[in-house]
């Protein structure tokens, strides 16, 4: 097995406000191998964006946000790592964009409205590569071609408002790819686009990943997209990873009741292969991070809730065979029934 391209260990994020501080992300752990895609899914407000921004330390000043844990990229020698959360401000700037890059949800606002496309891409190269303006511009042109923008030469001098949403997202992708990063974080890169454009962008990302061998963290709440792009999936709820495993296994046989609920509320049931389950929604909504329920954060909404078991301590993320992990107080029971169903 090759060394992971990105490791997150016990990542915690708290925001400090006048009224006190609120922990929004709790002990998030995952690894992504080179060339692999990990999908991060969960309802709105579950902490996906905060996690992704924390990985690149883009959340803001130290007096407003505190981060703990480790975010590791491979270091200079084998078995050596750089911790993005531990390096100084200068060093993190040298790593951002060069070794770890990001694509954002809103292509319409992600580009500087008064700067030409070419300049925005070239900028991403110039300040890392130390190369000339001319070389950076040539690289920008190459990138525009690579992300499939028609007539790239004339587009270099366009402004963002002259491009459609899908084209702008391609430009954002070109910026992210400029330094051929080892890790690409994509925070719902297709949510704001219409369906056909969505499919094009997904195909583009997959192809670019094949070409560059990047590790990708793909954030989405669309299970259709998960099955299409991801190798593994991590499900988040209230700032914690609650289930993780290979896409096929998780979609076919979700173990954590939250994952099962999420899948049951997806209209496109074929993809999960759940026979005839009625379209359901999970009652209630994601809790306020400042007032998380005792024990498993999901228990007030859970169908499998057992008093005394689920509302005691926060259950640990238990390791299962087959690189599967779940965080559920009743994990033992699910595993047992899983095994008996295999035995049948």
């Amino acid at each position: 097995m090759t060394a992971p391209a990105l490791i997150a260990r016990e990542l915690c994020v708290s925001f400090h406000k006048a009224g006190g501080s609120v922990q929004v992300i709790h002990d998030v752990c995952f690894e992504i191998a080179p060339g692999e895609t990990l999908a991060l899914v969960g309802e709105s407000g579950s902490g996906k964006s905060v996690t992704s921004m924390a990985l690149m330390r883009l959340l803001g000043k130290a007096n407003r946000v505190s981060l703990s844990g480790q975010v590791l990229l491979p270091g200079a020698s084998d078995g050596d790592f750089v911790d993005l959360l531990a390096v100084d401000d200068h060093a993190i700037r040298r790593l951002r964009g060069r070794r770890i890059a990001m694509i954002f949800q809103e292509p319409l606002t992600a580009l500087n409205p008064v700067q030409r496309i070419g300049a925005q891409i070239a900028e991403a190269v110039r300040f890392h590569g130390g190369c000339s303006r001319r070389a950076a511009r040539a690289r920008a042109l190459e990138l525009l071609e690579q992300v499939g923008i028609p007539e790239p030469r004339s587009r270099l001098d366009s402004y963002p408002h002259e491009l459609s949403g899908g084209m702008r997202q391609r430009v954002v992708i070109a910026i992210a790819l400029a330094m051929e990063p080892e890790v690409l974080i994509a925070d719902e890169p297709t949510t704001a686009l219409d369906v056909t454009v969505q499919a094009q962008i997904l195909a583009l990302l997959k192809q670019l990943q094949r070409d560059n061998g990047m590790a990708m963290l793909f954030i989405t709440h669309d299970f259709g997209v998960v099955s299409e792009v991801a190798d593994r999936v991590a499900v988040m709820y209230a700032g914690r990873v609650v289930e993780e495993g290979a896409v096929g296994a998780v979609l076919e046989r979700p173990l954590m009741p939250y994952t099962a609920g999420l899948l049951a509320s997806v209209p496109k049931l074929e993809l999960a292969g759940l026979p005839g389950a009625p379209l359901a929604t999970i009652e209630g909504s994601v809790p306020d991070p400042a007032r998380l329920p005792e024990g498993c954060s999901f228990h007030p909404r859970c169908r499998e809730y057992r008093p005394g078991i689920c509302d005691g301590a926060v259950p640990p993320l238990a390791d299962l065979p087959g690189a599967r992990r779940i965080r559920c107080a009743r994990a033992g029971e699910w595993i047992a029934s899983e095994e008996s169903s295999h035995a049948d």
Partner: protein
């Protein structure tokens, strides 16, 4: 572009016409008037005054006087001063550049200082600096310019004797240094309010930009901090300030009038007040029209600059 300019100029002509009409009527409906001072002159008979009125054309109906004045103006004849019979335009031009010097200097100071203070306040929001800048701006905005002027004269001219109390040059000197020496105090006093206004707007404009997605994109590229600040944050935060600059012109003109009076600065503002005192209507109307043209052109220029600086804006 051409059509836009023609439209804007057409609008301006309408505005100028209204300004001239309203200004002329108000001026002539006010009690007193150019003839009242002669009434007190010993040896002036009623017949003499009547003769003067005919001579100056003041015996005609107001509307006729207005049309006559406007007609001449359109032909480039700004009329003659009632006071000394010299051409109005020549008198105004004599005073114009003093005002431009004062306003230009003071505006440059306000823009530079106000912008820097505003940016610093926004990126160090809630810091001691931000707090002091906010309080300072509130104080500057709530105290009138003439009061600041008088305090400054008292302090720096009378007590400390660092700077002259007024006028533009020392008689018999007139070197560049002498000009600057006289310019410092009125320019700073006039700038004070505008620094306050400008810094507040710049602060909120910067705060608006600070949290926009494209700034996050710029940070995610790994750009150096100054690059993000200058090319992405400030560049965008300045856009609304251009329009603001245009809109501020009348305020600055009004401030200049006060500052010129307090510091006996020989500019258009002083000339305006003096001319009103003498009921020198041709000069008053001349200054009124010139100021209106200045403000209209300033706003047109601001709009053109916005279109130049912001590719999303199209002139139509």
């Amino acid at each position: 572009m051409g059509r836009y300019l023609i439209g804007r100029l057409g609008q301006s002509v309408v505005v100028l016409f209204l300004v001239s009409l309203i200004g002329f009527m108000i001026l002539n409906l006010a009690p007193g008037g150019p003839l009242s001072q002669f009434a007190l002159t010993p040896g002036m008979s009623q017949a003499d005054i009547q003769r003067l009125a005919v001579q100056m054309g003041l015996d005609r109906p107001l509307i006729v006087q207005y049309i006559d004045w406007l007609g001449r103006l359109l032909r480039g004849d700004w009329g003659e001063s009632f006071r000394d019979g010299r051409p109005v335009l020549a008198i105004i031009v004599e005073h114009l550049w003093a005002t431009l010097l004062l306003m230009g200097t003071s505006m440059a100071i306000s823009i530079v200082v106000g912008t820097l203070v505003g940016i610093a306040g926004a990126i160090r929001r809630y810091s001691i600096f931000d707090y002091l800048a906010t309080v300072g701006a509130m104080v500057a905005l709530s105290i009138p310019t003439f009061w600041f002027g008088l305090v400054a004269i008292y302090l720096f001219a009378l007590k400390l004797a660092w700077l002259p109390a007024g006028n533009m040059i020392t008689i018999g000197d007139g070197s560049v240094l002498d000009y600057l020496h006289h310019l410092v105090m009125p320019a700073l006093v006039l700038a004070l309010v505008n620094v306050a206004i400008w810094s507040r707007y710049m602060r909120s404009s910067t705060l608006d930009v600070l949290h926009q997605d494209f700034v996050r994109t710029a940070r995610a590229k790994g750009l150096p901090r100054y690059r993000v600040l200058v090319h992405h944050i400030v560049r965008n935060a300045l856009l609304p300030m251009i329009t603001l600059g245009g809109l501020q012109l009348p305020t600055i003109l009004g401030g200049a009038l006060v500052a010129e009076t307090v510091f006996t600065w020989p500019g258009m503002g002083r000339l305006f007040l003096d001319s009103i005192g003498y009921s020198d209507y041709p000069v008053v109307m001349g200054i009124l029209m010139l100021s209106a043209i200045f403000v209209l052109l300033g706003n047109l220029l601001a709009d053109l600059l916005v279109a130049l600086a912001d590719p999303r804006v199209r002139l139509a």
